[in-house]
């Protein structure tokens, strides 16, 4: 495995057929699968508002965004498969609750403003997390991430635009935007994962260059980016302790309620059961389409091989 670590240390990419430590392969499968599952589960909270989008323009944009999430899932399942697992196997693990998706999608989307808050905060946090993965040591994962990051910036901007419009609208619209930010702010900060001193796998992932920055560093970066944007929006982040710290050159912010994070992670969030149940049902109800397409392809293969024999 020396050649493996030499390549990684030289900032070269590892490609599918290279020798790699089994633990590296397993870590990547788990991480990429969790990422892929997050993309397709993430279609649900937003799909919830497609039929109720306030205009045709907003509806077309939201459909494009949800379609992107499906595409991102497919890029990532494809990347995971280069490590020797089957997509069907990974979907089984998701449906059986044996692999996770991001906890953020276990929160409900109660109002139209949530489409704005998800785009601005959740996709914003995702971008901060994902940009460094574009330089991940595993080639197929890094390449998938380049495509995803390009598309995510549209997601974040459309979310910002929704909130900007609501914030400058009627008092009720402004209040709706503020309520959405109040509910999504803390869960978005939790998306970066537990604090560094409680994140046991981080050091190994850094040594393998799967991960480039620590959870706390990325979280700080996100806060620093977001605070001035909230001012432009005319909305308040629900943390009275946010203030600029000139000494650190960063914004200070309040303590995160990690008991909530772990409760949601362990299945006790508001929507865990609903998300998984709907995912399973969609898969089962789509079975006839997959079977029909397979039968059609099999039939045409038979017809053409018979024709070839004649």
């Amino acid at each position: 495995m020396d050649e493996f670590q030499t390549l990684v240390d030289a900032d070269e990419r590892i490609e599918p057929r290279d020798a790699m430590p089994e633990a590296y392969r397993r870590t990547l499968i788990r991480q990429i699968a969790q990422h892929a599952h997050s993309e397709i589960i993430g279609m649900q909270p937003e799909g919830n508002w497609i039929s109720r989008a306030p205009s045709l323009r907003r509806k077309a944009i939201l459909m494009a965004k949800v379609q992107d999430e499906a595409g991102h899932g497919l890029y990532l399942y494809g990347a995971a498969e280069t490590l020797g697992v089957d997509r069907a196997e990974l979907l089984d693990l998701l449906h059986e609750g044996k692999q996770r998706y991001s906890s953020i999608f276990n929160y409900p989307t109660l109002t139209w403003a949530d489409m704005g808050a998800i785009g601005w905060l959740v996709d914003g946090a995702a971008i901060v997390n994902q940009v460094p993965i574009c330089r991940c040591s595993y080639g197929p994962y890094a390449r998938a991430m380049v495509r995803i990051c390009k598309e995510e910036s549209f997601h974040q901007r459309q979310g910002f635009e929704i909130l900007h419009t609501l914030s400058r609208g009627t008092a009720a619209q402004h209040a709706m935007a503020q309520d959405a930010v109040d509910r999504w702010w803390w869960p978005s900060l939790m998306m970066f994962g537990p604090p560094d001193d409680q994140s046991p796998n981080s050091a190994q992932s850094m040594a393998w260059r799967i991960k480039r920055f620590s959870n706390d560093d990325l979280r700080q970066k996100f806060v620093d980016m977001t605070v001035p944007q909230a001012e432009v929006l005319g909305l308040t982040l629900p943390d009275p302790q946010i203030r600029w710290n000139a000494e650190r050159g960063h914004h200070d912010f309040g303590d995160i309620d990690w008991s909530e994070f772990f409760a949601v992670l362990n299945g006790n969030g508001p929507c865990n059961a609903v998300r998984l149940e709907r995912r399973r049902r969609a898969h089962e109800e789509g079975a006839w389409v997959r079977e029909a397409a397979t039968a059609y392809a099999d039939k045409h293969r038979r017809v053409s091989s018979t024709a070839g024999a004649a």
Partner: protein
């Protein structure tokens, strides 16, 4: 009904614009070539990233092995004379 878990895997190659060659962009599962092409269009060209798509059954690709890369590519390693920079040319010579 066959018992296989998923549709065959296809590798997708896209020509992003005229004048460039097709480049590998990723893979997908599809039951047949026609569905693979349509799915490739939806998955890999949602923002007009291509003017032409190839889909190739992944099983049909023959690849060199990374294990033998030294031996396999060695013959090219000691032939610096295949590069123009190998040759000493007087400084005053133009257009050479």
């Amino acid at each position: 009904m066959s018992k296989r878990r998923d549709w065959p895997l296809w590798e997708v190659f896209i020509r992003s614009r005229r004048g460039l060659s097709h480049q590998h962009v990723g893979s997908l599962h599809a039951p047949d070539a026609a569905m693979a092409l349509r799915n490739a269009r939806d998955v890999y060209t949602r923002r007009s990233e291509g003017v032409s798509i190839w889909v190739v059954p992944a099983a049909a690709i023959v690849a060199s092995s990374p294990d033998e890369k030294d031996a396999f590519f060695d013959p090219a390693a000691d032939k610096a004379y295949r590069h123009p920079t190998f040759y000493d040319v007087p400084a005053e010579v133009q257009h050479l």
